[in-house]
Amino acid sequence: MSEIFFLTIIGIGIVLCFFRMLKGPTAADRAVALDTVTTVTVAFLVILGYVFKRYVYLDVSLVYAALMFVGSVVIARFLEKGI
């Protein structure tokens, strides 16, 4: 029962980040929203794996945690004219 509650709260968090992504005046704001929403998503996927009771599903969130970092770094390096 409590899992549904957690998922709902995290869903509200994702919607809030989305709001910032759509509104954000500059591209940097949107990048910050993207970075936040990925971290929230990793937690979301872990709880969802617990709801499904599948151990092997954790690998997906592991890949997300490692790779979304790379995406953020690429966007940041483009903003500071590093590529």
């Binding site: 957690f6 968090g13 704001d29 990048a31 910050v32 971290t39 872990v46 954790l58 966007i75 903003l79």
Partner: protein
């Protein structure tokens, strides 16, 4: 064990929500990064470890996910903050001090 796990996960989820709320409410990029870094890192750590406690055989894998988040999140936030300063986004009007020009002079000396 179950109750401890649910409690820890609940704290984490609450902080994730607060981090998202901070992203919406705070006035400029740098302040948003403050909320986005601290609250979400802490919230994600607690959520993931809490799930690991609820299901003890998952603990080691959740520990690895938490380790990855703890290592990567500050670095990407640092990169984003530096990028927004380099791309010339100003501070908000409520700011009191800006020592960046002094820092640039120091950079010129080195």
């Amino acid at each position: 064990m179950q109750i401890v796990g649910i409690l820890i996960t609940g704290i984490g989820v609450l902080f994730l929500l607060l981090g998202s709320y901070g992203i919406v409410r705070l006035p400029d990029v740098y302040n948003r990064l403050q909320a986005g870094t601290k609250c979400t890192t802490f919230g994600a750590l607690f959520t993931i470890i809490g799930v690991g406690i609820m299901e003890p055989s998952w603990f080691w894998k959740t520990l690895i996910i938490a380790l990855f988040i703890l290592l990567t999140n500050p670095i990407s936030n640092h990169a984003l903050g530096r990028a927004s300063r380099k791309s010339g986004i100003p501070l908000c009007d409520r700011s009191v001090v800006d020592k960046a020009s002094e820092f640039e002079q120091y950079k010129g000396k080195v």
